[in-house]
């Protein structure tokens, strides 16, 4: 009896825990209706030969544009670094000149004038050479930068093309999209350019209004029409019919 009671208590506890967990399990599966609420998407859903990685990245083109926009700052950063370099020898020369002035005498002053003149000549010549060198280096750097940018663009284009059948990677549930190309014989297009906003599920229960063969849906004053995206019907935010 002493042994059986804890076993009974454990059994009842386990049963209660199981029963209490059931609603949670049902919720997690999305239950109800014919479908179980399971996601149909994933890396294997497209059957592609390429797969970029574990997590889908949204809006690859935007990332590229951002990267491209940031690129021009790189040369200017390097330019600033290069511009600072000539200051170092100049500072060194000034120190030498200041040291010569500390023990000043006539001869020293003459010598200093001569020295200063020679120094100015040297400095001028050095500055000229430095400027030429600087120009050459800047030009080389710009060429290299341009080449690097081009190479990067080529690599990105190649990478984009390599992964064109990586269906899941670019998958988005909702967001913005463009109407693709020439819409043959379309009677109504919500927007062509710039991007139009769409949702995969209407945010409310609404009735349909058909105008010139196009269905419109009104949710709290926002009108939607339908679009075809990735094999599914989506709802584009549009103007009133």
């Amino acid at each position: 009896m002493i042994i059986q009671s804890p076993l009974k208590a454990l059994s009842i506890g386990t049963l209660l825990f199981f029963l209490l967990s059931l609603p949670g399990i049902a919720d997690a599966r999305g239950g109800g209706g014919r479908g179980g609420g399971f996601s149909r998407g994933g890396a294997a859903s497209g059957g592609g030969f390429s797969a970029r990685g574990a997590s889908p990245q949204v809006r690859q083109p935007s990332t590229r544009q951002t990267g491209a926009a940031q690129r021009p700052t790189q040369p200017s950063t390097r330019q600033a670094g290069a511009a600072q370099r000539p200051a170092q020898p100049a500072t060194g020369d000034l120190r030498g000149e200041a040291a010569a002035q500390v023990g000043a005498s006539q001869r020293q002053g003459q010598r200093q004038e001569t020295a200063t003149g020679m120094q100015q000549d040297r400095q001028g010549a050095a500055a000229g050479m430095q400027q030429e060198h600087q120009d050459y280096r800047t030009e080389s750097r710009e060429d290299w930068q341009s080449h690097a940018d081009q190479a990067r663009e080529d690599r990105q284009d190649w990478a984009e093309d390599e992964y064109w059948d990586d269906h899941w990677h670019g998958h988005v549930d909702e967001g913005e999209a463009f109407v693709a190309g020439a819409v043959v014989g379309a009677t109504a297009v919500a927007a062509t350019r710039p991007a139009t906003t769409y949702v995969t599920v209407l945010p409310c229960t609404t009735s349909v209004v058909i105008v010139n063969g196009t269905s419109y849906y009104n949710c709290s004053g926002t009108w939607y029409s339908r679009g075809y995206s990735g094999g599914s019907v989506v709802y584009i935010v549009s103007g009133p019919p």
């Binding site: 479908g35 890396a43 294997a44 030969f49 797969a51 059948d165 196009t214 075809y228």
Partner: protein, 272 residues
């Protein structure tokens, strides 16, 4: 009695050679599979490329594809969904794909050399876009730009041999499989991202009978599986098979696609 007491240091010294041998065996056994995986078979690669060339050079074909794939849920559970497609391809510029999902949803994609049309039966809607060119261009446009699902899309391109040459890092011959209607060669290939298994029919028509792709870098390592049946290399098809006639009440809606530089064709009448 004290001499019988267990001495850990003494025991370790006694069994040290055995432990070292066991460790060496474990290390060796761990490396052995890697060595097997890295093994390549020129014969297997030749079979794979023979299949690719045969498909790429075919003037046309029709085939039924019964496919399934793993959808890894957020909690890690693996669910399989299925699809069925009938593909009719006529090079250079005709394509028809009928699709049915395991939940009953049906669709159709047509390309007539000038226009791509996608029809969704459940919603009775269709979208059309101009995309003049050949099947290769249309397939890439469908998958890359319109983000339509066309599994194994690369297998329908004339560039399939180059695609495989570039992507496949190793190919191994698994076995001769006798469970199909015809004897097939089972090949196991690896790319940088996926494991690819192909069952290729032996003989004069080296057509794929089954393909399995494992996405080994994706969470849960999901698989895509496809069985090819009813291959026909001389299908009877006319222009009507690639022309779309909207059903009664069907509504035309626009194609939506994320923008990608240089991917969108020009407006009506323009060139891509």
């Amino acid at each position: 009695m004290s001499s019988r007491r267990w001495d850990p240091a003494r025991s370790f010294r006694r069994f040290a050679p055995a432990l070292a041998l066991a460790a060496a065996l474990l290390l060796w056994s761990g490396q052995a599979p890697a060595a097997v995986h890295a093994e390549q078979s020129p014969e297997a690669r030749a079979i794979l490329l023979k299949m690719a060339n045969f498909l790429a050079e075919a003037p046309g074909f029709s085939v039924s594809v019964r496919s399934g794939y793993d959808a890894i849920q957020e909690d890690g559970q693996r669910i399989e969904f299925g699809e069925r497609r009938k593909i009719l391809l006529q090079r250079p510029d005709r394509l028809c794909v009928e699709m049915e999902r395991s939940d009953g949803e049906q669709g159709l994609v047509l390309f007539d050399g000038r226009v791509i049309t996608a029809f969704k039966a459940d919603d009775n809607v269709y979208a059309r876009v101009e995309r003049p060119g050949n099947v290769d261009g249309a397939v890439v446009f469908l998958v890359r730009d319109l983000q339509m699902t066309l599994p194994l899309a690369r297998m329908f391109l004339t560039t399939l041999p180059q695609e495989l040459e570039n992507r496949v890092e190793s190919v191994a011959y698994v076995e001769e499989n006798t469970l199909f209607a015809v004897p097939v060669d089972h090949l196991a290939a690896r790319t940088a991202e996926v494991d690819l298994q192909v069952w290729v029919a032996q003989g004069e028509q080296p057509l794929p009978r089954r393909v399995v792709i494992t996405y080994r870098n994706a969470p849960g390592q999901p698989q895509f599986r496809a069985d090819f049946t009813d291959w026909n290399l001389a299908p009877e098809a006319g222009a009507a098979d690639f022309t779309f006639t909207p059903p009664a009440g069907a509504e035309q809606i626009p194609f939506l696609a994320p923008v990608r530089k240089g991917s969108l064709p020009a407006q009506e009448g323009g060139q891509p």
